[in-house]
Symmetry: C2
Subunit: 339 residues, 2 copies
């Protein structure tokens, strides 16, 4: 089934069920007021939501037109957002940090950071920054929302805990990354609010595209109407979602509704082929710039500036955006003066 959270004037929004064809929606408030509430009572809520989805899909309930512009992030604020690094080619391309670990250790256990989860951005919300000279970048990722995971969980437990999938934009301020990492306390200022697609979808909706704890779909990123990248999230994912969850739960329980990101989707490929000729491209600007530096001696692709638009979607074999679309415009928001 497909779920979304729509605006209702409250911080956590209202849970709705969305039809298979993404055209209609019906309130799920009689089952659970919010997505977090549904996850908290998943054993009861999940079959009830599935039954409601069946009714909507069968036309037994008329529902309303689904308008992604009314959506908040599926969890507009979550109790945890962890971002893993599943794709090693992303790390290899962007990692310039001095004193970083050797490659062997990186490929033995996934890196991950604790992200801010108090305000996750709606799919069509602006990317608000104080200054667009901070090297604003996007990072297209697959995200899994899990049920409770006990400390020390094994792969089978981790995999079974996956409740929902979606796609997200882990916005990064590249100019602040090095500072965050060098101070040793990790990502903080370089990682403002992550944005999420309108829909979260149960794994059973994907047939064969969800297998081996990976989502085998193309993730398309479009900057200002130009295709920027279309790597496949199922390809070159060195650490799958079970690996990422096991690692996250090494020393602690993970609470219900924890969101885990795959890391920037990244395929190993002939980096020369332009996307307009069917090339794979990249799911963030930093990777493109690193490749350009090596190839041309300088980075050509600029970071995002005020007014730039970034759209991200995971596409099925028909080119349908299975989670709907992230569609954001960079906006400079000057802090208000205070008395």
């Amino acid at each position: 089934m497909k779920l979304a959270t729509v605006k209702n004037g409250r911080p956590d929004g209202q849970l709705v069920v969305v039809s298979s064809d993404r055209l209609r929606t019906v309130s799920a408030s009689r089952i659970a007021p919010t997505l977090q509430a549904a996850l908290d009572d998943w054993t009861e809520a999940s079959p009830a939501l599935a039954a409601l989805a069946d009714q909507l899909n069968a036309g037994e309930i008329a529902g309303q037109m689904f308008d992604p512009a009314t959506c908040l992030a599926p969890l507009p604020r979550a109790f945890q957002w962890i971002d893993g690094a599943g794709y090693l080619s992303h790390l290899e391309r962007v990692r310039t940090l001095k004193g970083s670990k050797d490659a062997e250790l990186q490929s033995a256990r996934p890196l991950m950071y604790q992200g801010g989860s108090d305000s996750l951005s709606a799919p069509m919300s602006p990317i608000a920054v104080t200054d667009d000279a901070l090297a604003v970048d996007f990072e297209a990722e697959i995200a899994a929302i899990v049920g409770p995971v006990p400390m020390g969980a094994d792969r089978a437990t981790a995999s079974a805990a996956i409740r929902l999938l979606t796609v997200c934009n882990d916005v990064s301020l590249r100019r602040l990354v090095l500072d965050d990492l060098q101070n040793g306390f990790g990502f903080f200022h370089a990682k403002p609010s992550t944005a999420f697609a309108p829909l979260v979808v149960t794994t059973d909706e994907f047939d064969d595209a969800w297998r081996d704890n990976r989502l085998h779909l193309r993730v398309q990123s479009v900057i200002n109407d130009s295709l920027f990248g279309q790597p496949n999230a199922g390809v070159d994912m060195h650490f799958d979602f079970a690996d990422l969850i096991v690692e996250a739960a090494r020393t602690r329980d993970l609470g219900t509704g924890t969101i885990i990101g795959s890391g920037t989707v990244s395929n190993r490929h002939d980096e020369g082929l332009p996307t307009k000729k069917g090339g794979i491209g990249f799911a963030c600007i930093a990777e493109a710039r690193t490749v350009e530096k090596l190839k041309y001696g300088r980075a050509r692709t600029p970071f995002l500036k005020a007014g730039d638009r970034i759209r991200i979607a995971a596409l099925d074999s028909d080119g349908t955006p299975v989670f709907g679309e992230i569609d954001q415009i960079v906006t400079v928001r000057t802090p208000k003066a205070h008395g």
Copy 2:
């Protein structure tokens, strides 16, 4: 007023008001079911909760006996837990990371890390670890819970956003710290669930002890019935809570209910005086060990092992624990085998 969250079988518990003498309590469910709900509607909820507290204190409501053993963390799961580093002497004593920044930069802007907030520990819950050879340490800190803070907020806005204060134990697995920091992505595995005192208290309850955005109270830590440290949280706090909040909001909004930690309370002092002779001691074991190494050539104080008990409280001038007490025992929890 004083608030607490008691167990009711739900993940977020139930909000209660506690009397000034900490002896009686009354449910606040007719005002707000949970502390997060009260914070979300603070303008309405705060005066209603204060009126209920007045009735309880005046004996107009009998209430029930307050039992800290029934308490969860005030926010059993929060949307954000940020830990700052307000006390430079803590950093100076424990910092052994190679390649760390110079002291100048550390004192210009506070360091902070994004902590896990999905499961915050009850005041009397065990410190659950998979292995007590991980060098289990406590860190006694003051924590502030804030209302919404806009990106780029100034000090006045930051200070005005502080809603509640409490004390917490930022449990650390020292054996994993270096690994977390060296991989560059920051604290993760080294920081399992942080524990909180039973009570959160509004700043107006402190009279003169809350001033200059600092809480001028002794924070007492007791290991296995021996006084370990009693530094004053108002002394040597280089970055006050306004500084920490301003820094946290540099590139993003902070959501309502964000918890910000002061960092391990740490006073500059004659480190030789034992606590039994009125010495200040330390609010974590790592600082004591560093000082011992310098003085005696080796660390003498062991880290916490299974069965060890750590109690933490902030004391007013009468020695009363103003937030109640954190009282935890280290417990090894072996992961269950899964099929």
